[in-house]
Symmetry: C2
Subunit: 456 residues, 2 copies
């Protein structure tokens, strides 16, 4: 249902230069799909097709082009007049996104082709920190006066609404200070002579320009918002954030969390658009760090070399022990990281979290140790006839297993909470990091128990 | 800014039974915050406070209560009349969500207290599969006739709009078949006598009732939609999905992916609301499975026992090798899983993906092997004076390292793609699963190289 256009047919029309027919089809298509089609074309064809589009549609399509290099070349190919037309139709927040991705000479050209008032708004928006609410807001919104009537307000919406990203939530201001909001639904359901001040909602949720954009996205999902006003420190309305930008932030942040949890440095390009070298650069730092920190496990193993030589069978359970420890730890850490990022848990809950994890660890450890004891006796000793796997050895392994699971779960839940507390992103404390620590811990426990029980 | 209410003050008002003052504060509060406050109260107090709320607000608050057990008890405490009032105000999709979580006797009571038409709509919605578009849609939308004028349409919106979840996108239907959509913005900017059929957008994105809800959420984020019509197989409009429900789906699906990637069975309760036993049940199956599958690594180690005994120093590099392999593999698998779930990559891209991962693996392997060789010579041999770490041993370890990284990255990117192809959720093929496979692979490679080069 959603891919309701035929890419091959469009391609053929381009190849055969049947531009009139192509234009007829394009103007009926969704702007996102047209952008997807342009992304598939060679640069020269892309410019040709882009010029076919009516200017309003062209601006919408332009905002959805995926590849910033394509946007760059396209701007380079447009005349100043064409560029001005596109920029006139672009929403202000999209223009700002564009400018952030362009090289300096194009930024100059873009700014030269916008009018003075837009230029000053752009400069203002560009000044907000990268991850702040200010950086994702738009300054194009409808504001009403509390003393206007519903009828006057409709007239105002009709007059200014066309260029605004949303008209459905109108902001009531007095000397630029936010007084309340009123939805178009409310306006539609009220008598024409009603005063806005009498029907506006005064309990307004708002954020300041410097709020973190991830927290802002959380507010959208918590309160099911479609738009959120952004105010400065004096409660003056400076912009609004719309739900589509909040959804983008949610998706980006989730991707970033996934990457951090897999020891990848975050990148904001799609997988196949990222070059080999760039991918390598985002992956090698953590790999290197984690590899070198495995030196500790090496040192531990070396210092128990004689014990291992005396009872070689112990070696064969090392991967199982470190693996199970790592898995237990990452379960806890990921559960806690996600709970932190959804705001379900805060640092002050640390006692409750640790106590919960200890009980879960006890249950898990008990089950795993029991199952492993049975498996060692039945499979390793009886089925595979390995005489070295004595009940005492099995006891050592299973005690270690239970202790490791406990350590792993405690480490797994406390490290992300501690990271949050000291202002590091908890997502970094996920599987790879936890695994490296738990590897060392489980070996220490293993040899401590083995030397005591087996007297090595 | 957002926690603009004082929990302690509210609690005190409850304790001192200052209910009139409490009500004055509550009616000014956001429904989500009131629900958050009720979640903090004892059941008895919760019922008391809930009854203070005006019925429309009560219904909104009810929909946001987090704990389904609380909702259950609250329904139990309400009289039939009160329940009917709440249900009347509840949006239909929220009622359906509620019914899905309630025990049978309460479902009966809820259905008894809704009118016949609502009941039949509820039954219809309940019949859609759990993860389908039908299960998250609402049947409460505004539809217009293509031959109506803008003026007639405004009159219609004023009449029916109050109970609809959104009035901003109106659906134009003829004999229930979807003809187009028209936004209120468009209506506001058009002359009163204009015919709807002349201004409606006919290129409408829609989904069928059985579409997967995760794909639906992706559409919202791709096309920046605020609402999406749902049609049956004859293109008859049966419901709409609004962006707030799509955002919830996105968030749930991301949480589910995080959980699957950490070898946790998905649960839909917040972290601290999930009991110890329940948490254990969601974690033990994968732990158990992965532990038992580590048997293979044990078997591999046992069969090379004599080689290990001849050159014990090899043992001390096992955790570093399996760890680095596991980390490399999970980087690739998580990158590919995320790309699959965002629709950036499909199964047909498998050659491009594998080729990319091979080149990244070559770069990473080279760097890691080089760094590790230097580290073994400088730290292990020279600094720690371990004579067993000869250049030949270092060569064995570093060759294994490079080969392991290559294997790990290939396994890490192909398994999620294969899972997608055969209809398993790729997220299951993340770190823990990959790690277990890579552990075995890296040991096999290690001993193959060691026996050949060291002649063990």
């Amino acid at each position: 249902m959603h891919d309701n256009y035929d890419l091959e047919q469009l391609m053929e029309l381009v190849q055969h230069r049947q531009l009139r027919r192509l234009r007829e089809i394009l103007v009926e298509m969704n702007e996102v799909d047209i952008a997807g089609f342009l992304d598939e074309l060679e640069m020269e064809q892309e410019i040709l097709v882009f010029r076919l589009l009516p200017k309003e549609l062209a601006a919408e399509v332009f905002a959805y082009l995926e590849d910033t290099e394509d946007q760059e070349k396209l701007i380079g190919a447009l005349s100043d007049k064409e560029l001005r037309e596109v920029l006139d139709e672009l929403y202000l927040d999209d223009t700002v996104d564009l400018i952030e991705d362009m090289p300096a000479n194009l930024v100059d050209r873009i700014l030269r082709n916008t009018d003075a008032s837009t230029r000053s708004q752009i400069n203002q928006l560009l000044n907000y920190p990268k991850d702040s609410a200010g950086s994702i807001m738009t300054t194009e919104f409808v504001y009403l006066h509390p003393d206007s009537t519903v009828e006057q307000s409709f007239a105002r919406i009709r007059k200014v609404g066309l260029d605004k990203e949303t008209v459905y939530t109108c902001y009531v201001t007095k000397n630029r200070v936010l007084q309340g909001v009123v939805t178009v639904k409310r306006l539609l359901l009220s008598a024409y002579e009603t005063r806005i001040g009498d029907i506006m909602e005064t309990n307004v949720l708002s954020v300041t320009t410097h709020e973190d954009k991830e927290d802002v996205a959380q507010l959208f999902s918590k309160y099911d918002l479609s738009a959120l006003p952004v105010v400065d420190s004096d409660n003056r309305l400076v912009g609004i954030i719309t739900f589509d930008d909040a959804m983008d932030v949610m998706e980006e942040e989730a991707t970033e969390d996934f990457e951090k949890m897999a020891a990848i440095l975050p990148s904001d390009k799609p997988y196949l658009k990222t070059g080999v070298f760039e991918t390598w650069r985002s992956r090698i730092p953590w790999l290197m760090l984690l590899m070198l920190s495995a030196t500790f496990t090496g040192i531990i193993l070396t210092s128990f070399e004689s014990a291992l030589a005396a009872c070689v069978v112990l070696t064969s359970f090392i991967p199982m022990l470190t693996g199970t420890g790592g898995n237990s730890g990452s379960q806890s850490s990921v559960a806690v990281i996600r709970a932190l990022s959804l705001g379900e848990v805060e640092f002050s809950d640390i006692a409750a979290v640790v106590w919960k994890e200890i009980r879960v660890a006890a249950l898990c450890g008990l089950c795993l140790a029991g199952a492993n004891f049975a498996k060692m006796m039945l499979v390793d000793r009886w089925l595979m006839r390995n005489p070295e796997v004595t009940p005492t050895v099995a006891l050592v392994v299973c005690l270690t297993l239970a202790a490791t699971v406990l350590c792993a779960k405690i480490v797994g839940c406390t490290l992300p909470m501690a990271a949050e507390k000291i202002g590091i992103d908890p997502a970094v404390m996920a599987s790879p990091f936890i695994t490296t620590i738990v590897d060392a811990l489980s070996l220490l426990v293993y040899f401590a128990i083995a030397t005591r029980i087996l007297g090595l």
